[in-house]
Symmetry: C2
Subunit: 573 residues, 2 copies
C-alpha cells in the first residue's frame, strides 16, 4: 500500500508543524479570506449566479484542496476567467436566473472534476502542454478585457441583457449611456478610489508607521472588504436602494450550503462537455503555473499529478455543495504566499472564515451595491492584461506572436471557447507548417577539424564529388517530399556529384511515409549514378531501419558513424 | 511574359514529335479508350448518376489535361474512389435520380476545380503532404472494399436502396439474398470469367502466337469491352431484359454533351465544401503519386504545381460539361504508360474515341446489364486492397500502423469522410504526442575521441560534475515541461553535478513557451548551485536567442561550439 502521505501531502507538512508555522498560516488564511469574501460574491455574479454561490464555492472545495493539494500556497476558489467561461457555457443551455441555470452550473462542476480525475487516471495531465504560452497569454489578456467590459454596466447602473462579445457589450452600453444611474456611478468611483489607495499607497504608509506586521498586512489587502463595507453602509444609511434605485445584492440566505444530490442529465453533459474540458484544462494550467512559480521560490516543486487529483476533488466538492467550478487563482495565491502561508492549513483557515461569514453575517451584504462588486472585479483582472508579452513574442518568434494575436482577437470578438480552440489549432498548424519545410543545411569541413557546419554561415571546405547535407528535422509524412525535392534539385544543380551524405544528427524518427520516400530517393539517385549514404544515425532510428529491407536497398551506400569518417572514406574512394 | 511552354508542357513535347511518337500515342490512346468506355459508365453508376455522365467526364476534361498536364502518361477521367466520394457527398444533399442530384454533382466539379486552382495560387499544394502514407493506404484499401461490396447488389440483381456503410450494405444483401435474379447472376459470373481470362491468360497466349504488338496489346486490355459487348448482345438476343427482368443501362442519349451554364447556390457550396476539399486533395494526391512514379521510370519529374492547374482546369471542364469530378486513375495510367504513351496526345486520342462513341454508338449499350458494369468495377478495385502495407507499417513504426488500421476501419464502418478526416487528425495527434515526449540521451565520451554518444547504447565515459544530455527534438510548447522535469530529476538523482550541458544538435527551433521554461530552468538550477550551458546550438536558433536577454540570464553559463570543448573546459574549471 502507498503511504498515506503520498495521497495527502499535508501529513508530511504536519510532521514539522509548530507554533510559528501555525501563526504564519493563520495570518495568511485571514488575509486571503478578507480578499476572498468580496471576490467570491463578485465572481458568482460574473458567472451569472446569485452572490452566495461564490461563497459556497469557497468552503468545501478549499478544505478538500488543503487535504490533497501539493502546493503549499495555492489559493483555490472562484476565479475570474473560469467564472466568465462558466457564464458563456451555461448561457447556451439555460436562461440566467432559472433553476436549469443553477443545475447546469452544478453539472459543470461535476464534469470538470471528473475530467481532471480522468486525465489523472490516464496519465494525460501533460495534455495541457498543448496550450502554448502564447495561446494562454492571448487568451488571458482578452478574457480580462471581456470581463472588465462586462462589469461596466454594473458600474454605470445600467440594466442590460447578458452579451457574448465585446462589440455587443460596448454597443449596448453606448446605446444606453444616457440611462446611467449617477448615484451608482459615484459609489463606484469612490470604491475605485478606495481600492486604488489601499493597493498602491496604504501599505507604504502603514509600513512607515512601523506597525506590527500582523496588523498592517491584513489591512493592506483589505481594500475590497473596505469597499464592500463602505458601499453597504452608505446604501443602507442613505436608503439609496429605494431613493436612488441603486442595484444591490439583496437577500443572501443565511446558513451553510447543504451537501446535495445532483440531477444528472446525459444530454446536458453532452452539451457541456467541451466547455467543461476547456475550464478543466485552463483551470489546471493556471493553477499549476502559479503553484510551480510559488513553489520554486521555496526551492520546491509541486506534483502536477497530485494537483490533478486535488483540483478534481475540489470541483467535485463544488458540485456537491451545489455550486460552480473552482480553480487556483493567480491574485489570491500570490497574496497567500507573500502573507506567509506555510502549508495548506492557511486555505483551511480561509474556508473556516468564509463558513462563519455564510453562517452568520450574510445580512451585512443585503445593501451591498453590485457596482462595488463590479469595481472589485475590474481591479482584479486589470493586472492580467499583458501587452508586453506580445512585444517579447514578436521579437523572439513571429509564429508565436501570430498565435497570441489571433487568440486575443478571436476571444475578444467571437467568444472564449472559439477563441481558445482556434488558438490551440493555430499553434499546432503553425508548428506543423514549420516542420513541413525543415531547415536543410549543406555543410562543409571546418578547417582541418572533424566538424562540419553550414556553408552559408561558416568558412568551410566542401568536396566536388560529395554533397553533405544535414536535415534539421525528423523525417515524416509532412516534410518528406520537401526533403526529397531539395536533394534532387541540389544534385541537378551540381552535376559533379557522385555521393550524397545525409547527416542525421537531427533526425529523431522516420515514419512509414518517409521510409517510402527515402527508398524512392535511393533508386532515383542510383539511376543518375549517385549513391546515397547516411551518417550519425541515432540509435532508435537505426533500430527502426534495421527492421526493414532498407539496408539491402542502400546497395553501395553506407551508414557512417561520423560525418568525418564518411567524407574521408568517400574522398579516398 | 512567361514562355507558353511553361503553361502548356505539350508545346515542348511537340517540338520532338515524329511519326513513331504518334504511332505510340495512337496505340496507347486506343487501348486506354477501350478500357475507359466501360469503366466510365460503371463509375458513373457508382457515383449515382446515369451511365452517360461517365462518358461526358471522359471528353473535355481529357482534352484540357492533355494541354496543361506535366505528366506524359497520366490518364485522367472518372475514377473509382472519387466516384464513391461523390456519391457519399451528394446523397447527403439531394435524392439520387433527381435534378438536384445532378446539379450538386456539377457544383461539386466546379468546387473541386476551384479549390485546386486556389491551392495553386496560394502555393499550398504541399498541404497534401499532411495526408500520410498510412492514412492514404488505409483509406484506399477500405474504400476499395466499400466499392466492391456496393456492387454486389448489381451482381445479384437485387434492388436495394443506397447505403452508407458496409454493415448496412451487407445486412441488406443478406436480408434479400433469396430475391437473387439467377439470370443476372449467371451473366455476372460469365463476365467475371471473361475479365479474369483476358487479364491473366489471354495476353500470354497471344504473345506465344507471336502476333504483332499493335494487334495483341489492345486485345489484352479489351476484357471490359468484351464483357460489355457480350452482356449487351446476350441480353438483346435472348430478350433477357423482359423475359428474366435483367436490369440494364437502358436509353443513353446520343450526342455530345453541351457546354452549359451552372446553377450556383451558395448554401449548396457550403454543404459540399468539405467533401469537395477531400475529393480535390485525394484526387490530386493520387494523380501526383501515379504521375511521379511513371515519370521516374523515364528519369523525368512532374511538376506538382502544373498538375494542380491541369487537374483544376480538367474539373472545371467536367463542371461545364455538366458532369462530375475527375482525377488521374491508377489502373488506366499504368496501362497508358505500358502501352507506350509518349505524350498527352494519347489522352487526346482517347477523348476523341469516347466522343465518337457518345456521338454514334450509345444505342449499343441499351441492353448492357448493370451486373456486368458491377463486375468491371469489382475487378478494377480489387488490386487497390493492400494488406501487405499494414504488415510493413507494423514492423517499421507502430504509430503508422495504428493510423492505417484506424483509417481503414473508420472508412469501412463510418464512411469515407469521417474516416479520412479522423485518420489525418490521428496521424497529427500521434506525431504531436511523440514529439511531446522526446528522446533524451545522457551522453558520454567515446574513448578518447571528440564524439559523445548515449550512455545506454555505447561504451562511453561520463564526468562526475558535469551532466551532458542531448534532447532529440526541437523545444516547443508541447515538450518543454517534459524536458525541464527530466533535467531537474537527473540533477536531484546525481547530487555531485555542478554543470549541465544541453547539447542542441537536434534542436531546430525554440518557441516562446520553451524560452520561458529555459529561463526558469536557469534560475532553478542556479538556486541549486548548478550552471546550465548549451553546446552545438544551430545558427537559426542562435539568431533567435540573441534577440532576447537569454544570454544575460545564462550568467556564468556558456554556449560552446562543440560538446568536446564544453566537456574539456568544464573538466578543467
Amino acid at each position: 500500500m502507498r503511504p498515506l502521505v503520498e495521497i495527502f501531502p499535508i501529513i508530511g507538512w504536519l510532521q514539522n508543524y509548530h507554533r510559528q508555522t501555525l501563526v504564519s498560516d493563520l495570518m495568511a488564511g485571514v488575509i486571503v479570506a478578507i480578499m476572498l469574501i468580496p471576490q467570491a460574491m463578485a465572481y458568482a455574479l460574473l458567472a451569472g449566479l446569485p452572490a452566495e454561490y461564490g461563497l459556497y464555492a469557497s468552503i468545501l472545495p478549499l478544505f478538500l484542496y488543503s487535504l490533497l493539494g501539493s502546493s503549499r500556497s495555492l489559493a483555490v476558489g472562484p476565479v475570474a476567467i473560469a467564472s466568465l467561461m462558466v457564464s458563456t457555457a451555461i448561457s447556451q443551455v439555460a436562461v440566467q436566473g432559472s433553476e436549469d441555470y443553477l443545475n447546469a452550473a452544478i453539472n459543470l462542476s461535476l464534469l470538470v472534476g471528473m475530467i481532471l480525475l480522468f486525465l489523472r487516471s490516464l496519465r494525460l495531465g501533460s495534455i495541457v502542454n498543448f496550450i502554448s504560452h502564447s495561446v494562454l497569454s492571448g487568451f488571458t489578456s482578452a478574457a480580462a478585457i471581456v470581463i472588465a467590459i462586462s462589469q461596466i454596466k454594473h458600474v454605470l447602473g445600467l440594466e442590460l441583457p447578458r452579451t457574448e462579445t465585446i462589440n455587443q457589450s460596448l454597443s449596448g452600453i453606448f446605446a444606453h449611456l444616457n440611462e446611467t444611474n449617477i448615484t451608482t456611478f459615484i459609489l463606484a468611483i469612490i470604491a475605485f478610489a478606495l481600492l486604488w489607495y489601499c493597493k498602491n499607497k496604504l501599505c507604504c504608509q502603514l509600513l512607515r508607521l512601523q506597525l506590527p506586521d500582523w496588523f498592517a498586512q491584513p489591512i493592506c489587502k483589505a481594500g475590497p472588504m473596505f469597499a464592500v463595507l463602505f458601499g453597504a453602509i452608505v446604501v443602507w444609511k442613505l436608503n439609496l436602494a429605494e431613493a436612488a434605485a441603486v442595484d444591490t445584492v439583496g437577500m443572501i440566505p443565511q446558513g451553510l450550503p447543504h451537501l446535495q444530490g445532483i440531477h444528472i442529465d446525459l444530454k446536458l453533459w453532452q452539451q457541456l462537455f467541451t466547455p467543461a474540458l476547456l475550464i478543466a484544462l485552463i483551470g489546471f494550467l493556471e493553477s499549476v503555473s502559479v503553484g510551480t512559480a510559488l513553489a520554486s521560490k521555496r526551492q520546491e516543486r509541486i506534483d502536477p499529478n497530485k494537483e490533478l487529483i486535488a483540483l478534481g476533488v475540489a470541483n467535485l466538492g463544488s458540485a456537491f455543495s451545489g455550486t460552480y467550478p473552482v480553480a487556483g487563482g493567480f491574485g489570491r495565491s500570490m497574496v497567500n504566499h507573500s502573507a506567509g502561508a506555510q502549508t495548506t492549513i492557511a486555505s483551511a483557515i480561509s474556508a473556516i472564515l468564509v463558513a462563519i461569514t455564510v453562517a452568520f453575517f450574510t445580512p451585512l451584504f443585503y445593501y451591498l451595491p453590485k457596482a462595488v462588486l463590479g469595481v472589485i472585479i475590474i481591479m482584479a483582472v486589470i493586472p492580467l492584461i499583458n501587452f508586453a508579452d506580445f512585444k517579447a513574442c514578436w521579437r523572439f518568434n513571429k509564429a508565436d506572436s501570430l498565435t497570441l494575436a489571433a487568440t486575443f482577437f478571436l476571444v475578444l470578438f467571437t467568444g472564449v471557447e472559439i477563441g481558445i480552440l482556434s488558438g490551440i489549432a493555430l499553434s499546432i498548424a503553425l508548428l506543423l507548417y514549420r516542420s513541413s519545410q525543415p531547415h536543410i543545411a549543406i555543410v562543409g569541413r571546418v578547417g582541418e577539424s572533424e566538424h562540419f557546419r553550414n556553408v552559408d554561415r561558416h568558412e568551410v571546405a566542401t568536396e566536388d564529388h560529395t554533397l553533405a547535407l544535414r536535415v534539421d528535422e525528423s523525417l515524416y509524412f509532412a516534410n518528406t517530399r520537401f526533403v526529397e525535392t531539395f536533394i534532387l534539385e541540389q544534385c541537378a544543380e551540381h552535376n559533379t556529384i557522385n555521393h550524397v551524405v545525409l547527416i542525421c544528427t537531427a533526425v529523431n524518427f522516420i515514419d512509414a511515409s518517409a521510409l517510402e520516400t527515402l527508398e524512392q530517393l535511393i533508386v532515383n539517385l542510383r539511376d543518375k549514378g549517385i549513391t546515397l549514404h547516411l551518417s550519425e544515425v541515432k540509435g532508435p532510428v537505426m533500430d527502426q531501419l534495421s527492421s526493414t529491407h532498407f539496408f539491402d536497398l542502400l546497395g553501395e551506400g553506407q551508414i557512417f558513424f561520423t560525418t568525418d569518417q564518411a567524407m574521408r572514406h568517400l574522398a579516398n574512394a
